[in-house]
């Protein structure tokens, strides 16, 4: 068995045909982690004995006749999703020592389908960031260029998949945190529509924007995992009761009859020329596959980043209030006379700079006297951005855009200028604000060998179209630089 040549699809086939066991497969993943992760730093936590035990029981189940879809397939999980019995640090010191007492719904569904949870991957603290440099625990390097960041916030998951240390991983995407690291590292990343996948058990950053999605080597793998993860969950009131199609089985064919839009606001000055060229080539590939290409407009795009940072920070300021040292996680050892002092000490010690910056920003925009100017106003702009997409999708079936204006940055390049760092998210935050689905597919590399991603955006609950486009493109893609 060659781990490098395996995808989730081929691993499923190999396990079914008894070409290898889950223990052998999981062992290979663990060995790859041992060999490479000392340099990359994708994983925060791996328990070999526990992973092999899960694999052994998957093998035993298969010997007993079981054949769940993912039986024995090891996955890497972003360290912000609760897996019962495992740590869930959110790459923050404030959750030191916390062990999840329950499974997130997506984890429960993947477990039901037989998956093995092999380890937990690094992220920007509480998913706040675009480079994974905001992790309070460790640095993650881009497997394609070790002096560069893997993107973020799901940088650990992207590096694990692209670095050959995971068949596939789960990430979370609040403003691009799946798609952007996928594009930086050169793997596939899918952000489902809001309400498609349950958020129960995902440590909330911005509840109205967060979604969990797969990060994989192929579009087909993303389709397979989404099929297991998606659907109404009684524990998450915001999930919709819509049928879950067999995404993987529907893949194939060409793009004939599809009209794909290029939003002109996404192809502007400031876009890295190499990135622009790779994306244009991908657009041409889609045209050759039968798609009709049209130009569309999303006129409120320029307000999206400001809107996003107001709303996401406002929600985060409440979501992160629960980390107070009373019930779990870090509690300051400094003697405190009042609960308030204990909170101040605990939170001052436990949260990193970027998290504090966003809590303060969110608290400010919700404060009386500023509320209408910021929060209420941002809500209105969010509605306008959603309407932009509604009218664009009257003219086309999906949109093609770059994922990020630049390829992966050098480590440290964005650290000193948070405002510049926020602008990295310009092409991805809109999908979260509008609640639509988005996919990042590798579309080649720059001459320096840095991966570039093509973003496909489709209307809410139209993941089928998204995956179909991504899959067709992936089959005809000429890898060049």
């Amino acid at each position: 068995m060659e781990l490098e040549s395996l995808t989730v699809r081929t691993a499923i086939d190999g396990l079914r045909k008894r070409q290898f066991s889950s223990v052998e497969l999981t062992r290979a993943v663990l060995d790859a982690i041992t060999a490479r992760d000392g340099v990359i730093g994708a994983y925060l936590w791996v328990d070999e004995a526990d992973a092999l035990k899960q694999a052994a029981s998957a093998d035993a189940a298969r010997a007993g006749g079981a054949d769940a879809l993912l039986l024995g397939v090891p996955l890497a999980i972003k360290d912000i999703l609760n897996v019962e019995g495992q740590p869930c640090t959110c790459a923050s010191k404030i959750l030191a020592g916390y062990r999840a007492p329950y499974d997130a719904t997506v984890i429960a569904r993947l477990r039901e389908a037989g998956a093995v949870f092999a380890g937990r991957t690094n992220l920007d603290e509480f998913a706040m960031g675009s480079t994974t440099e905001n992790s309070a625990i460790q640095l993650t390097r881009n497997p394609a260029a070790l002096d560069r960041v893997p993107g973020g916030s799901s940088g650990g998951s992207a590096a694990a998949v692209a670095g050959g240390m995971a068949l596939a991983a789960l990430g979370t995407d609040t403003g691009g945190s799946i798609r952007q690291p996928a594009s930086f590292c050169g793997c596939v990343g899918l952000k489902p529509s809001y309400g498609r996948v349950s958020r129960y058990g995902l440590v909330a950053f911005a509840s109205s924007l967060d979604q969990i999605g797969p990060m994989t080597q192929t579009v087909e793998d993303a389709a397979l995992l989404l099929g297991v993860m998606a659907g109404r969950d009684p524990h998450d009131a915001t999930t919709l009761d819509r049928a879950v199609p067999n995404y993987a089985a529907a893949l194939g064919g060409d793009l004939k009859g599809l009209r794909l839009g290029l939003p002109k606001e996404y192809f502007v000055a400031g876009l890295d020329p190499e990135v622009a060229q790779r994306v244009q080539e991908a657009v041409e590939s889609c045209r050759r596959c039968g798609a009709e290409i049209v130009e569309v407009s999303l006129p409120h795009t320029e307000y999206a980043v400001a809107t996003y940072y107001i709303l996401a920070s406002a929600e985060a300021s409440a979501n992160l209030a629960r980390f107070d040292g009373v019930r779990y996680g870090h509690r300051s050892a400094v003697a405190a006379g009042t609960p308030l002092e204990m909170y101040l000490n605990t939170r001052a010690e436990g949260f990193g700079r970027e998290v504090k910056r966003r809590i303060i920003l969110g608290t400010y925009v919700l404060s009386s006297g500023y509320y209408d100017a910021y929060y209420t106003h941002a809500q209105r702009v969010r509605t306008l951005i959603r309407r932009d997409f509604e009218s664009a999708f009257m003219q086309c079936d999906a949109l093609l855009t770059p994922v990020s204006p630049d390829p992966a940055y050098l480590i440290g390049a964005t650290a000193e200028d948070p405002l510049k760092a926020y602008l990295i998210d310009i092409f991805t935050v809109t999908a979260n604000l509008a609640g639509i689905c988005g996919l990042s597919v590798p579309c080649g590399t720059t001459p320096a060998g840095l991966p570039v991603g093509l973003q496909v955006l489709a209307p809410a609950f139209d993941e089928g179209t998204l995956l179909r486009i991504g899959h067709v493109y992936e089959q005809v893609r000429e890898v060049r630089s």
């Binding site: 999703l81 609760n82 869930c88 959110c90 959750l95 916390y98 999840a100 007492p101 329950y102 997130a104 958020r199 129960y200 058990g201 995902l202 440590v203 909330a204 911005a206 509840s207 109205s208 009684p234 524990h235 998450d236 009131a237 915001t238 406002a314 929600e315 300021s317 409440a318 209030a321 629960r322 980390f323 107070d324 009373v326 019930r327 779990y328 609960p339 308030l340 909170y343 608290t363 919700l366 404060s367 009386s368 509320y371 929060y375």
Partner: protein, 480 residues
């Protein structure tokens, strides 16, 4: 110079709803269980946990709103109210800010002159309760069993003008909520808690004075006493030419005074914003109508109907209507025995006496309306006498069963046939010549003694009326 001020009081009442489970999770709502045993990731505010709305809590709030004459918001939303406190699992409370479930509404309170005064409600909304802090000498702990219990908050306009009115309002509200069964309304257990706003202003001034908020009143009389104290305190300040400062004060029940807690400057900025984890509650007009049709009759309406329909006195009707189970029991009996007055007499005197003596409400006793109807029937037909009836009633109240069966099985039917009674009367008259002599000498009471002796001889089964007539006849014969 002392003067009389106009007092304006507004109330905010928190009522724990009687649901089986908490507002946002499946944990049981229970009291008196060991700390932190009815908890889960949701009500402990664990990372990643999400709330799911308890539909029964929404229904109970809507029912309460309709019973109190509120209009129902067809589109109602939940919000996060942020502040840090150890009893708050998430450090924000899920509550309702600008789109509560119910708006407006009225509760009538009785006035001393016999009239009624309407008190306007501003709103009723639904929110989650916090945990309970416990303070020991060297440590503090938090019990999260209560965290997430559904709370209904009822807010009034400042229409109340005295401590007495406030107490009357709380009593009336408590009656209604108990009557519709949405809450246990036990103030000692904290099922019902109230905060009070009170302000004073000189007569002739339209604008309300500066308001002071009072907290920590655990009983209706506590709220009454706190208000009385606070009104007197504010009057003194104003009389002395002072100014009232906006503040929150705590009622100290032991010393009987209100104490400064925090001033307006310390007020929290709660930073309300729409709760993204819950969908709006949409209640279309046809659902509101259906709910309205399912409502029980309000006590005041039922009181009038009982008096009119069964021809019973107003007093009886008001006692019966105040207790939904008792009124149901009365109606069941009255409809079966055909006479409301008799049914009400029995329930008002004998049944309520047993209820009090055994501390057992009518819902928990063994007496069925059918059993009481049988008893009333046997007394009316003079099959049994009143004494036997009372004994049988107590038996049925405690152990159930059919009084008719008891009478048959134990031969308790009263004897009114004069053939059987004549022998007992003869025996008593012969055995008590002194009483006969007394009677002849004009002592009427002697006849009563003789009647009692006959009843005793019959072991209570003799019909006292017939015995009285026979004794009278026999004595008259002696006289002749």
């Amino acid at each position: 110079m002392k003067q009389t001020y106009r007092v304006s009081i507004g109330l905010e009442i928190h009522v724990q709803l009687k649901t089986r489970t908490k507002l946002f999770c499946g944990c049981a709502t229970s009291f008196g269980v060991p700390p932190n045993t009815c908890v889960c990731p949701v009500c402990l505010g664990y990372p990643g946990a999400m709330p799911v709305m308890n539909r029964e809590a929404v229904r109970l709030t809507l029912v309460s709103g309709l019973m109190l004459g509120c209009s129902i918001n067809t589109y109602s939303t939940f919000d996060r109210k942020s502040y840090f406190y150890p009893d708050m699992p998430k450090n924000y409370q899920i509550t309702q800010y600008d789109k509560p479930l119910c708006l407006d509404g009225i509760i009538d309170i009785p006035m001393t002159d016999g009239g009624r005064k309407p008190i306007r409600l501003i709103r009723i909304h639904l929110e989650e309760d916090v945990a309970k802090s416990m303070h020991e000498s060297s440590w503090s702990g938090v019990d999260f069993n209560r965290a997430g219990t559904p709370l209904m908050e009822i807010v009034t306009h400042p229409d109340l003008t005295s401590a007495d009115e406030a107490a009357a309002f709380l009593t009336a509200l408590r009656h209604i909520l108990l009557y519709i069964g949405v809450s246990a309304c036990n103030l000692e257990e904290g099922n019902m808690r109230c905060d009070v706003n009170v302000s004073l202003r000189p007569p002739g001034q339209d604008a309300l004075g500066t308001k002071v908020e009072l907290k920590n009143m655990n009983t209706i009389s506590g709220a009454h006493d706190a208000l009385q104290y606070e009104i007197a305190r504010q009057s003194e300040v104003l009389d002395a030419g002072g100014r009232i400062v906006q503040e929150t004060r705590r009622w100290d029940v032991d010393s009987g005074v209100t104490i400064h807690m925090r001033s307006k400057e310390d007020a929290h900025d709660y930073r309300y914003f729409a709760e993204p984890d819950l969908l709006p509650i949409v209640t279309p007009p046809d659902q509101i109508d259906a709910l309205r049709r399912s409502l029980p009759e309000l006590p005041a309406v039922r009181r009038e109907r009982l008096a009119r329909q069964y021809g019973i006195p107003d007093y009886d009707a008001s006692v019966l209507a105040a207790d939904r189970a008792l009124a149901d029991f009365f109606e069941a009996v009255a409809q079966r025995c055909g006479t409301g007055k008799t049914a009400s007499n029995w329930i008002m005197t004998d049944v309520l006496r047993l209820v009090a003596a055994h501390e057992t409400p009518v819902t928990a006793c063994a007496l069925t309306p059918e059993a009481l109807v049988e008893l009333i029937g046997m007394v009316e037909a003079r099959t049994i006498n009143a004494l036997t009836a009372k004994e049988l009633l107590e038996e049925a109240f405690l152990s159930g069963g059919s009084p008719t069966e008891q009478v048959r099985a134990r031969g308790l039917a009263q004897v009114s046939d004069s053939g059987a009674l004549d022998g007992w009367v003869d025996a008593v008259v012969q055995a008590n010549p002194k009483s006969v002599a007394d009677w002849k000498a004009g002592k009427q009471a002697a006849a009563g003694f003789l009647i009692g002796q006959v009843m005793k001889l019959s072991k209570g089964k003799a019909d006292p009326k017939v015995v009285g007539r026979l004794v009278g006849e026999r004595l008259a014969q002696q006289n002749g």
